[in-house]
């Protein structure tokens, strides 16, 4: 897909000829559409023609803008099926973490492990996980997690708790030791 489908340059078709009175025709149209023509525009015959065009189109354009075709209900399902196929097909060895598994190798995808650890944080009152990056050295995991917190929570206390919970989840849910947890509080939010 071409991300730059539009030519960036200014072709003659993109330029706006001024009205006979010298005014910028697009400005006159915008003022008319916003209902705020200035004194010159209200009295100038050249501007008046542009204003009449703008107002003549205004009603039907608003009706068109009010029409909202609903998306097909299965659209996202179809997309997600393709996304999941892509994820499976494109999974690389470096995306996998080795789990403690004495009876044979067991691996877990990095995004899935991150999801487990984020979920642990999301369960905590007033905390939400944002980024969760996991590195592995030997078997031990090193986790860098960013969180957002509700205004008013004791940040020192909850970040200590986040660390405790991530280490525990590494052991219990992933069966793999977490050797290091870096936590950054990146935002605060208020209860809606």
């Amino acid at each position: 897909m071409a991300l730059d489908a539009f030519p960036p340059g200014l072709s003659p078709e993109d330029q706006i000829e001024p009205l006979a009175c010298g005014r910028d025709a697009a400005d006159v149209w915008d003022h008319a559409a916003d209902g705020v023509p200035d004194e010159h525009e209200r009295s100038c015959p050249h501007c008046a023609a542009a204003i009449a065009d703008a107002r003549g189109l205004d009603g039907i354009v608003h009706r068109m803008a009010d029409e909202v075709p609903p998306p097909p209900p299965s659209l996202v399902d179809t997309v997600m099926e393709a996304v999941l196929n892509t994820v499976t097909a494109e999974l690389r060895p470096q995306d996998l973490l080795a789990l403690y598994s004495p009876a044979g190798p067991a691996r877990l995808s990095r995004p899935a492990a991150a999801r487990v650890l984020r979920h642990v944080v999301d369960r905590m009152d007033g905390m939400r996980a944002r980024s969760c990056r996991i590195e592995q050295d030997g078997l031990a995991l090193s986790v860098a997690i960013t969180v957002t917190a509700r205004f008013g929570v004791d940040l020192a206390s909850v970040t200590a708790r986040v660390r405790q919970m991530v280490v525990a989840a590494g052991k219990q849910a992933l069966g793999t030791p977490v050797a290091r947890v870096d936590i950054t509080v990146v935002d605060l939010w208020e209860e809606r």
């Binding site: 803008a65 980024s131 969760c132």
Partner: protein, 215 residues
């Protein structure tokens, strides 16, 4: 940054005393803020991406229908755009709003589709019948007799819109139907602000010319 000292012993040990408790408060993922969802999706969280797709699909489908003029084509364009978004989301830098980034991907997919479609269906042959058949020129739900003229005017506007050059139509749709500003439209289309103003003005003049007979 809060960091703990690496533990000395990283070998598996018996489960520690700290237990992961039963959930106390679990914020539904659907309530997560957009930045959090974007970051999670960038790190490969499929579920976060799905939530983003569901949040934005209504607006993006509407834009796609308005640009390509046909719901089935719009669905194809949006499906391709969402897959593009998944593949490219790691590169989203946050320089613009996520919605702006998504608009850009969708409008480019629409333009790709229109270029592929053009040899099959010349724009001049996109008539009212095709639009009615596609459901785009369906009469409004008001339905009374007096609405016939309004509906005919609307159908004429749709035909005139379909006949505009694609880049003009995209800019006009984003401005007049989506209500976006010139700066955001320039970000979406990658054109200069001056070019965007020019395209929108040219489209307005053309549509006004066609619609004079309906005033």
């Amino acid at each position: 940054m809060h960091a703990i000292r690496p533990t000395d012993d990283v070998a598996p040990r018996p489960a520690p005393q700290v237990r992961v408790p039963e959930p106390v408060v679990v914020p539904p993922e659907r309530e997560l803020d957009e930045v959090t969802l974007v970051v999670r999706a960038q790190e490969g969280d499929v579920r976060a991406f799905e939530l983003l797709a569901r949040r934005h699909q209504g607006v993006l489908f509407r834009v796609a229908v308005r640009v390509v003029g046909d719901p089935a084509d719009a669905e194809d364009a949006l499906q391709e755009a969402l897959l593009d978004a998944w593949r490219r989301i790691a590169g989203f830098q946050g320089d613009s709003a996520f919605s702006t980034w998504m608009y850009r991907i969708v409008t480019n997919r629409c333009l790709d589709l229109l270029r592929r479609r053009r040899p099959v269906v010349p724009v001049d042959e996109i008539g009212e019948d095709r639009l009615v058949a596609s459901g785009l020129a369906a009469p409004g739900s008001r339905g009374p007799e007096h609405a016939a003229e309004v509906d005919a005017g609307m159908a004429a506007l749709r035909v005139a819109l379909a006949r505009l050059p694609d880049e003009q139509r995209v800019c006009w749709v984003l401005r007049e139907l989506e209500g976006l500003g010139y700066t955001e439209i320039a970000q979406i289309t990658g054109a200069t602000g001056t070019a965007v103003r020019g395209r929108i003005h040219r489209a307005r003049k053309e549509l006004a010319e066609v619609m004079r007979s309906w005033r």
